[in-house]
């Protein structure tokens, strides 16, 4: 009888040891991606582009203000106005005023998007939206900073479309990346992120 109890007890010890080793290994495994992510290049950084009024615009001018950055272009009739209008609508819904966060549109079509075109486009929203364009090299640099993608799609003459990242990048007042809003994310989730951004 006593022998059986001893066997069961040792078996229990073996199982406990196995569980311990398993947990220890899986916790060290789950730690690995976190270590990797700290090595990733940060999203955002200093840049200088041209504002819709033709003056130079430095990212320094956004210092101290949360901002939502969206890449788009003025010949974009569907996703770009829908996304910008949504940001304007959510900023109003937050009820913290137009200065609670800046909405920044960066052109991925510098060939067609002159400052004057940008001015007409951002003016459509009836609320403050910062429109920025620049040389192809300047735009490429900002795209790299944000890890954003764009490429001209096949089209005739001037009637081409531009494939581009449609994710909104939420940046804190310190210029550091906070979160993204995906195009297919619901308004409630997007509003909660903007609430946190402007807290």
């Amino acid at each position: 009888m006593l022998r059986w109890i001893r066997i069961v007890a040792w078996a229990g010890v073996a199982v406990a040891a196995g569980v311990f080793v398993y947990l220890w290994q899986s916790s060290s495994r789950s730690g690995a991606p976190a270590a990797q992510s700290t090595e990733m290049a940060p999203i955002g950084g200093p840049f200088t582009l041209t504002a819709a009024d033709g003056t130079r615009f430095s990212s320094q001018q956004l210092a101290g203000k949360p901002h939502a950055v969206f890449f788009g272009f003025t010949h974009c009739p569907d996703v770009c106005p829908t996304t910008l209008a949504r940001l304007v609508r959510l900023r109003e819904a937050l009820g913290k005023g137009e200065g609670s966060f800046e909405i920044v549109l960066i052109s991925v079509d510098p060939e067609r998007d002159t400052p004057a075109e940008m001015a007409k486009y951002v003016g459509l929203f009836g609320k403050p939206v910062i429109g920025l364009t620049g040389s192809t090299a300047e735009i490429d640099q900002v795209k790299r900073l944000f890890g954003a993608y764009s490429a001209k799609a096949p089209g005739d003459g001037d009637n081409y479309s531009v494939d581009h990242t449609a994710t909104v990048f939420l940046m804190g007042p310190d210029g550091k990346f906070r979160a993204t809003i995906a195009p297919d994310e619901g308004d409630a989730a997007a509003k909660a992120k903007l609430e946190a951004l402007t807290a």
């Binding site: 010949h75 569907d78 910008l84 929203f125 001037d158 479309s161 994710t167 195009p183």
Partner: protein
């Protein structure tokens, strides 16, 4: 007797053939920016199968059937080849982030005047509809 049988057969055959398509266009609207515009609508087919081949917006600019797709956060907008099927009894919605008519404007639209859209269907022919314009700022409100 035989004659009656022929008539009955002909009537039966007629009743079996596909009904004529009857597509109605509702919720037509245009979102306009200075350089381009997107037209959206809902097609409801209470008749037989049909296919939307093309949409024109005379006097505004070149209009193309387009579809937006998302792939890993990247937006792609492409012409739709071969038109859009509107099957018997079905509704097809053109909406933001999805199917739309892209209009490359010759000049900015007058927001007070609706845009006349001419939709060409394979079976039904041409259907016209007037779509009111809203600016993206209007969408925001």
């Amino acid at each position: 007797m035989l004659r009656h049988l022929w008539i009955a057969t002909a009537l039966f055959a007629a009743s079996c053939s596909d009904p004529a398509p009857l597509v109605t266009v509702t919720e037509a609207r245009v979102i306009a920016t200075p350089a381009s515009a997107a037209a959206y609508f809902t097609l409801t087919n209470s008749g037989g199968d049909d296919r939307l081949l093309a949409v024109e917006a005379p006097g505004t600019g070149e209009a193309t059937l387009h579809e937006t797709s998302m792939d890993g956060g990247v937006m792609r907008m492409r012409p739709i080849d071969g038109g859009v099927e509107v099957a018997k009894g079905e509704a097809v919605r053109f909406t933001p982030y999805g199917k739309h008519v892209m209009i490359m404007l010759n000049r900015p639209l007058d927001p007070t005047k609706p845009v006349r859209l001419r939709l060409t269907f394979e079976e039904q022919g041409i259907v016209t509809v007037d779509a009111p314009i809203s600016s993206p700022g209007g969408m925001a409100n």
